[in-house]
Each structure stands twice: as C-alpha cells, then as structure tokens.
Amino acid sequence: MASGGRRKWTNLLLVNGTLLILVILWTIPTMGLFISSWRTRLDIQSTGWWTVFPHRTWETVAILDPKELGLDSTAVMEVEGATGTFEQLRAGVEAPNGKRIQWVGNRRIGRIEVQDQVWTVNWDFTTDNYRQVLMGKDFEYKNPDGTVEVIPGDNFVGAILNSIAVAVPATVIPILIAAFAAYGFAWMNFTGRRLLFIMVVAMLVVPLQIALVPLLRDYSKLQINGTFLAIWLAHTGFGLPLAVYLLFNYIRTLPREILESAFIDGASHFTVFVRLILPLSMPALASFAIFQFLWVWNDYLVALIFLGGNPDTQVLTMRLANIVGSRGNDWHLLTAGAFVTMILPLVVFFSLQRYFVRGLLAGSVKG
C-alpha cells in the first residue's frame, strides 16, 4: 500500500512536472515579447529581456589606476590577487576573494575596475513603445555616447481601425448568408438542393490560392480593388463553405415541431428564420463567429492581395509585416506593435474560449 502510494505520488509529480515544463516552453516566446514591449529601446537593444528577472551581475566597487600601481601591460600582471596578461584582464579575471578584476580601455590610458558580483534586476520599464506605436509620436533618444537620435514613431491607429472595419463585416456577412442558406438546405424543398449542398461540401477544402488570380482580375474590372467591399466578399467566399456546413448541421437538429407550429400560426419562412431559428442557433453562430473573426483578423495573404495596393485600407497584419521588413531592428516598435495586434484576439479568445473550442470541435477543415 505504501509503495502504491509512493508510486502514485511519483506519477503525479511526473505528470504535473512534464506539463509544467511544456507550459513554460509554450509561454516563454509570448512572454519575452510582452516583457520586452515595456522595456526602453536601449535596454531591448543591449540586454536580454530575461534580465528583468533577478540575476547576478558584476558591479564596480573600486577603480584603480594602472600607472599608480606601476603595472607593465606587456607582461603578466598581478592586481588584488588576480593574475593575467593584458588580454586576460581585458576579459576579466576572478581574484581568489571572489572579486573580478577588469581592465577597461586601452593599454595606455585604461583603468582597472574591481567588481563585485551582486543580484540585480533590470526594471527600467516604460510606456514609450506603446505611445510611439499608438500615437505615431517621434521620440528623441540619447545614445550612451551622448548623441541624440530621433526615432520616428509608427502609427497603428489607422491600421487598427481598418482591421476592425474589415473583420466585423467579414465575420457577420458570411454568417448571415450562411444562416439563410443553412435554413434553406435544412427546411425548404427545391430542385437541385442535394446537388448544391454537395458543392458546399466539396468546396470545404479547396485552397483559397486557387481563386486569387481570377478574383483579382474581376476586381480590377469592377474597380473595387483595395476597397473594404472587395475583401469582405473575399473572406465571405472563403469562409462560406465551412459556415454553411456547420450551421446546416446545427439547424437540422432543431426540433421540427417548433417550425410546424409556427407555420400553422401563419408565419412565413422569413419570420420563422428571423424570430426562431436565429435565436435558437446562437451557440453555433457564436462558435463560427469567433472562428471567422480570428481568421480574418489574423489573415495576411488575402489582405495582402486585395488591399495591398491601397495604403488607406492597410490592416494590422500588413502594417506589422511592413515594419518587420523595413525596420526589422527597431525591436521597441515591433514588440509593442505585435502586442497591439494581439490584444483584440486575446480578449475575444479568453472571454469566449468555450465557444471557440466548440467551433473547432464541430469541424475545421478550411480552404
């Protein structure tokens, strides 16, 4: 019994320990970005983000003049009990008493620092990065060598609004169209019903790449390239098969009696759909809505092709990708910018996680 109890404990430890390690591994990338986005530009460039955690670092406690000590920099020297050549001292030599001796500067006018190891944290946090990203403010930075550098900001607000203007209708439109269609397929009789639904099923896995070249030609002819309408319709088209399929599967399972009693009362299909089916289908609608919203918000390829030529309608993912391309070393902008693009999906995700998971479970082979 005792050994069984112990085995149970080791099992529990093994399970939770492995799980903890995996969770930490999965969280570290996002955490690094998040922490960095609050650090000053100079800190991001010069030290790793993990230095915000307590770590040991060398701190200078005394400065000595090599000339006063009468040291010969061409030979092996001894300072405070530490011995080494000039090169070794430049890199730092540890003395027996735990202190580190380091030669700073060149041979002739250098100095010797006696350093002590201390625990420290880099907690110089700032909101400048976010202000720069959200307000497009230019910031003046003083470099360590005293020069002043002006770093232009990057305004994300326009892109945020564009992303909202793209994502909200591109979520609601396909749901509305798909819900009507799902109702039609589930409750109405018409010729070609089966054949049309087979088309919906067949389209489930068609890669959207197939449509991009012909659609771009249509859009050029219709002169709607770079407009919101163009990208709403594109996302509607690519999201429809899954939407119709999911909503059909849901609406079909609703009890038939509800509808029949409504028809007896003289209600039309339209009334039944709006008054009964839509409210009853809310769980399925919500599942797909979250799925589609995250898909559209995070989409890059479709936006790149249909909005690419128009800077006025540029969405967040494009804006961020542009900065990666043009200012890939401005990590203070990239970290804050990336986080700005994630805020809304993360809020949606955490508040509606249950619906999202349900949507995934219902089937998620998407073209």
Binding site: L33, S46, A181, R194, L215, P241, D299, Y300, V324, L361
Partner: protein, 378 residues
Amino acid sequence: MAVDQSVKNQDGGFGAGILTWIVRLVIVVAIPVITFLGLYAGFIFLRDSAAPKWLITLVAIIWGVGGVAVLFWVFNWIVELFSDKWRDRLQPFVFVGPAVAILTWYLAFPVVRTFYISLYNRDGPQYGQFVGLANYVTVFTDRLMREAFRNNIFLWILFGVPLTVGFGLVIATLADRSKFERISKAMIFLPMAISFVGASVIWNFIYVVRPIDAPQIGLLNAIVVGLGGTPRSWPAYTAISPWNNLFLVIIVAWLQTGFAMVLFSAALKGIPDEILEAARVDGANEFQVFFRIMVPTIRGTIITVTTTIVIFTLKIFDVVWVMTGGQFGTDVIATQFYRQSFIARNAGYGSAIAIILLIAVIPVMIYNLRQFREQEAF
C-alpha cells in the same frame, strides 16, 4: 413586412384594386432601386471619403452588415408579393441563392478559370499564348520549385505535422490527469489567437543575433553562446540547409499544437474510465494504456487532426514570407505561388502551382463527399 400587410388589406372594390396594383408596382420598383442607390452611395463614400478614420470605420461596419441584411429583406419582400405557388418556388433561392452565387464566383468557378489560365504563358489567356501543359512541366523541373516541394513535403509535413500532432497528444493526455488541466490547456492553446505575422515577430525576437562579443538579446543565441557555441541567424543559416527550415517549422508547430490538443482532449474524455481501469488492474503500465488503448480508441480523431494540419501546412505562407521571404532555401509552395502570380506576374505559371495545390487536397475532398453520402442527411 408591415408594408406588405397594409397593401394587402386595402383590397377593396375594382378601382381601389387598380390603385392598389399601381401603388404596389411603384413600391416594388422603388424599394429595390432606393436600396441599391443607398448601398451604392455608401460604397462611394467608403471609397472616396476623406472623413475621419473612425467615422469611415463606423460607416463601413453599418453599411457592410446592414447592407446584406437589407438585401435579404428586400428580396424576400419582393418574393412574398407573388402568389403562394410562385412564392414557394422562389423563396428557397432567396435563402440559398446568395450563398450559392458567392460560392460559385469565389471558389467553384475560379477552379475552372485558374486551370484555364494555367494553360497559357505569363500574359494569361487574353494577351498570351496557349502553351498546353508546359507550365506543369516547369513546375516539376524548375530548381526553385523542386526546393519548395522538398521543403513543403519533407520538412514541413514530415517533420512539422508529427511534431504538432505528437505534442498535442502528449499534452492532452498529461492535462487529462492533472489538476491544472484548465489553466495549462489555456496556455498551450493561447498561440492559436495570435496571427502568423505576430508569431513571426515573436520568434524573430527569439532568433535575433548579435555579434559574439556583445550580449545576446535573442533567447536561442543566448543559450547557444552560454553553451559555448557561435551565435547565428538560425533561419537564415544556409550552412545547415535544408535544416534551417526547421526553425520556421517550429513556429507553426508552436501555434498549431493547441488546436491538436483541444481535439484530442475532447476525444480522450470520451473514452470510458472502466476500460482504462480494467487495463490497469490487469497490470498494464501507463505507457501500455496510452499506446494500446488510448491511441487506438481515438484513431479517428488522430486521422482528422492530422489531415487538417497536413492541408493547412501544405498552404503555409505567412510565416515563411514574413520571416525569410523564401530566401535562404526556405521557399514553400505557397510562397512560390505568390511570387510567381503577384510579383513576377507570371499568371500561367502561378496558376499551375495553385492547381497542384488543389490536386493535393482532392483525396480529402473525395473522402468528405463520401462521408457526407454515408450520413444521408438528405
């Protein structure tokens, strides 16, 4: 609807009948026209207006969402003016029609058109030359394209998919036995909310490289230097080609594991506890329980998840495009497609690549259709 009823109620004498008829006709013509004009005005406003950005956003949402709702309402209203017989015949098309039309325009018809374009040279059917299947020959012989196939199939699918599915399965199993199931699953699932562009920034920051004598700010190179190695820009490190692709594959595995985990987790919950307990009583250890009972029981889910991720991986684009732009031997099929279609403006060749992507998913399409037939939902 209210208008419809009031019009019907006015059916009185003969003269009143004609009047009603005229009024009805005017309304029938006027309402759609007004609707279309209103929607068109909205479109023009959105395209050309110099109004403040927030106002444009607001109008866009109202116009887009409201416009579709109004269109449905108007079409239905017109159909309900017909006699009962015609109404019953036409109404299904008001409901199903828009979806079918959009599907045809956006997916079904483009399949044919793209195939047609792929038979022509770079200028397309209108100005170009018919070249038959020459583009397809090029697809399979071109060096860059071969490299893309190699990366996509060998590295992305053969390494990336098992990595994702494996981690998803392990995490789902572990979480199922832990008290911290909810929180740990949420943390693993979280990257699913992040865009590939965002994920690229996150991982770029992990791969960032600094000169060897400067402190590393990228986590990976900090570890490498800490272990005495040389810092490198790993995804761009062609000396280890093609294995540098794996640094991109990891990003997608990191993002997609949550998806696999959620589906596996739900499937594992469906296994009756008695079966697992019985096996344990019979002396099976946890590994045997996992491989002999759990894995075979949820085989269906494993196949579904694997298929979904394979299809997804086949079309991978964003990560490669943002991280390396397909340089350093990291091209994949979708980046080649994008470059040929929209940068090199070689419509015929780009379309041929798209058709190859489509052919690759046809087995899944057939499987889906067969499943659908077996369900006999109709």
